[in-house]
Amino acid sequence: MSRIVTRDLTKAYGDLAVIEPLSLDVPAGQFISVIGPSGCGKTTLMRVLAGLEPPSGGDVTVDGQAPATARSRKRVAMVPQQPGLLPWRTVRANARLLLDVNRASTPPDAADPTALLQEVGLGDFMDAYPHELSGGMQQRVALVRALALHAPLLVMDEPFAALDEITRAGMRGLLNHLVEGRGVTVFFITHSIAEAVALSDRVLVSSPRPARVVADITVDLPRPRAADVEDEPRFVELCAQVRHALHGGMS
């Protein structure tokens, strides 16, 4: 069963059409990226999938349920662009936040995020407060906070956009390591072609608003992704393919 299914999904704000009829099947465990010009409707699509915004038309299901239902069952985990850590909570408590909130709906398989914090290299910072962390460390906490839910769908809105290039490269490797083998479906928004190709199994390229898929590119790089995947000729080829689709869609 596919994790995300949309049939002629549309979204408009008043007269402003944001998403053109979109039909999409995302199989379980797929890492799918969306790349497109600023303002084309990527965040809007993510918010519809996360059940934060109702679609204007068409059908959409996440894990076989309406997105709003999936949201109320905590089946969608979100990583926003800014880490959004609560300054009064320690790293450990921030990592637990999505488990603590609406606790009645926390799935039974959700585990203590301590092990995950160790895994992302924050073992020595469990009791630190967010202001004691670098931007990259804060975003790692945000990642752990989302993964701890064990939700089948992880949606990420340009999570690394605010980070410097070196930290970003490290985060790509970390994210690949974290999601490979976990069976989680990832819906990832980015403006970086290299990031999309390095992380994804599939890259959707969108036109300017209203969003329309101009290219659906399968990334056939082997998993687990090698640390030096970006040096491979196939990686460079795929990046060129995405870039052409992006520029074609813009004109």
Binding site: A77, G84, W88, E132
Partner: protein
């Protein structure tokens, strides 16, 4: 730490020194201005009276402030959730804030009788608007992205309030408490003065202004109130340091 207390101490000593010199050099009349040395000496000589009265005033101002804070946060939380109610109550609260409250203190005393009730009522009332406004602002200061994160796991209204909005309002509530402390002490003093029960520093002050030889006592009362204010501020700072240790203002390193 010592630097933090040195500067205010120097400021106060210099201020008192100038005051003392002014009174001595120009031979200012007693009721107009008393030399700090004379007022402080009198305060020390009658310290048992002032300790007893001070304790009453501390209770009036302190408990009144806490009642005001509690009601202010409750009202503010409701108003933060409803712009209509906010706009409906704003003029009333502003009126309470700007109206000369000392003008109607005696009416309140007539209404609530003597002793503690009118004191708590007035302190609670004059501090309320600032607490309500601060709560509304603080609760609204939450980042939309953080709110969306809470919504993404279907957090309930109460949970958003309790886990997100209230802690976000804590810093501005502390700032407001510093401001309200002065108001609370002034209101307590006034009500005690307008009161028949003869309790508190305000009552001492009233009797002193009525007596021909009361100048020393009056100025001792002024100093007693100032000392209470300083102690209150220290207490609030201490609490703030403990409760808001995570806050930007307490960062040990610049971010």
């Amino acid at each position: 730490m010592s630097r933090r207390f040195l500067a205010p101490a120097v400021g106060i000593v210099v201020f008192l020194g100038v005051w003392e010199a002014f009174v001595r050099i120009f031979h200012v009349r007693k009721f107009v201005l008393r030399a700090p040395s004379a007022a402080l000496r009198h305060l020390w000589n009658t310290r048992s009276t002032f300790l007893e009265a001070g304790w009453i005033t501390v209770q009036h101002a302190g408990v009144g402030l806490l009642i005001s804070l509690t009601i202010g946060v409750l009202v503010g939380a409701v108003l933060a959730a409803s712009p209509f109610l906010e706009h409906a109550t704003q003029p009333v609260l502003t009126l309470v804030q700007v109206a000369p409250w000392f003008a109607y203190v005696s009416s309140v005393v007539l209404w609530l009788g003597s002793g503690t009730p009118p004191a708590l009522f007035m302190v609670g009332l004059v501090c309320l608007p600032a607490y309500v406004f601060a709560t509304v602002d603080g609760m609204r200061s939450v980042e939309p992205a953080t709110l969306e994160l809470f919504r993404s796991v279907d957090a309930g209204r109460w949970e958003v309030l309790w886990r997100l909005r209230l802690p976000s309002a804590a810093p501005v509530l502390f700032t407001t408490s510093r401001f309200n402390l002065g108001l609370a002490l002034a209101a307590a003093y006034y009500v005690e003065g307008a009161n028949l029960s003869n309790e508190g520093i305000g009552a001492i002050g009233r009797r002193a202004s009525a007596a021909a030889s009361g100048a020393d006592t009056l100025w001792a009362a002024v100093f007693a109130m100032a000392i209470l204010g300083v102690l209150g501020l220290l207490l609030i700072s201490l609490l703030q340091h403990v409760v808001l240790h995570w806050h930007a203002a307490h960062r040990t390193r610049p971010a």
